[in-house]
């Protein structure tokens, strides 16, 4: 397939790996932000192609993994209601809440449906006027424009029985949270390509400067990631700090202007709790007051749900790049895809799921 196969070409990948080896003189640790990048690295064994001096640590860029337990419990509470058809992406159905997950609600008779797009959920709402349709709107800046359009269209078309349970988070504040924690060892970032396809990369210059951390906007295929690593290592070795765009075929500096316009009309920036990391100020999006009738947290009385994490799960340390999945005592034992303790073992973008799926039990 065009724009995929050529970026998985082994010859090109080998050439890039040799180039990385030729410029590396010291040990460097860098973080790839997005769970999609983490999976490509582990699936294609890209880390094994790199010189041993280079360590890739996995970032918090898995939207399923960072969704707070309270939001899962709110989703479970709403999905169990008689009058509700609850719709969501597939990943979210198996994320453990305090008592149960959405799949369990479905097995107990709740109308819980997997959809491919929020527009599918909007269609279901139009086809079922007597029901209340809720879409579980989870994700980073990449996914928010889709949910913003669904809410906007619902209002334009007067579809009053459609609402979203929103848990949107932003990458730049998470990077700052990681860089300002004393225990971090990240020296450069491979930024999430599709987040920047939407938002552009203006916001990353102040972070690179403030923390002297090179940032390379990187794609998701092996050639993209290897070229991203090469660009980051060259900056580190040459003592340069800059924001560079490896994924230039899909990312412009200003991002997607029409998408950013609608986002600013539908969402406000708010403080958000990240599962395993805690509250990060101004790190998420919530629906503006004028869209209250499409805000499931307002439509349904689900305030005051507090939740307890499993003490065994070290998801927070894994998502901050402080630990790797195989360093967790529960990895592959109490915690497996069939009975996950934490979200990184559930999500197809979670680091623990990647390590388990691709047999990474020691490194």
């Amino acid at each position: 397939m065009k724009y995929i196969d050529e970026y998985r070409d082994a010859e090109t990948a080998k050439k890039l790996a040799d180039m990385i080896r030729s410029v590396t003189t010291r040990e460097w640790t860098m973080m790839e932000i997005c769970g999609g990048q983490t999976h490509a690295i582990v699936k294609f064994g890209i880390d094994h192609l790199l010189p041993k001096e280079i360590t890739l640590v996995h970032g918090p860029g898995c939207p399923v993994c960072v969704t707070p337990l309270e939001i899962i419990d709110k989703a479970v509470a709403i999905a169990g209601r008689e009058e509700v058809i609850f719709t969501s992406f597939g990943d979210m159905l198996r994320v453990p809440g305090s008592q149960k997950d959405l799949l369990k609600v479905k097995s107990e008779g709740g109308d819980v449906r997997v959809v491919y797009s929020p527009l599918d959920a909007l269609k279901i709402a139009q086809q079922n006027p007597s029901k209340k349709i809720v879409f579980f709107a989870v994700g980073f800046e990449t996914t928010a424009p889709a949910n913003a359009m669904a809410v906007w269209q619902a209002r334009e078309m007067g579809v009053k029985n459609f609402s979203i349970l929103a848990s949107h988070v932003l990458v730049p504040p998470a990077m700052e949270a990681i860089l300002s924690s004393p225990a971090h060892r990240v020296q450069a970032f491979l930024a999430a390509g599709h987040v920047c396809t939407v938002m552009g990369y203006e916001d990353y210059y102040p972070i690179a400067e403030k923390y002297s951390s090179p940032i390379v906007i990187t794609g998701f295929e092996p050639v993209d990631i290897l070229q991203g690593v090469y660009m980051a290592v060259k900056q580190l070795e040459e003592r340069r700090v800059d924001v560079e765009n490896q994924y230039s075929r899909a990312v412009k500096r200003e991002g997607n202007v029409p998408a950013k316009k609608l986002l600013s009309q539908v969402f406000d920036v708010i403080d958000r709790k990240w599962r395993g990391i805690g509250m990060i100020p101004k790190s998420g999006w919530g629906l503006k007051a004028e869209f209250a009738e499409h805000d499931a947290e307002k439509v349904f009385d689900v305030v005051g749900i507090e939740a307890q994490e499993s003490p065994l799960c070290i998801a927070g340390e894994i998502m901050q790049g402080l630990k790797k999945p195989h360093e967790c005592v529960a990895f592959g034992r109490e915690c497996k895809p069939e009975h996950p303790l934490g979200a990184p073992m559930v999500s197809s973008e979670g680091a623990c799921a990647a390590y388990f799926h691709y047999g990474r039990v020691n490194a």
Binding site: K15, P63, F89, P118, A146, M149, R249, P258, S347
Partner: protein
Amino acid sequence: MAAEKSGDKMCLGVPGKVVRIDENPLGMTMGKVNFGGISKDVCLAYVPEAKVGDYVIVHVGFAISTLNEEEAKSVFEYLKQIGDLDGLQIT
């Protein structure tokens, strides 16, 4: 590559070719995008510049960017230059 399972990967953006564009009075232009043989309905509202035949990145049913053909070749041209330079360094 089969189109991704229903919303399986959160940030996954898949490149596909625009094969049809349908103007929409509510300002939500829709169209058909082909992914190596599979066609899907996609919202094109965020890529007003896209024309039939262009490639776009699609995420959860929305095109979030057109793909820049020139930029797409840059990594390969860069490597070719380096390859040519290597070839010149005759020892």
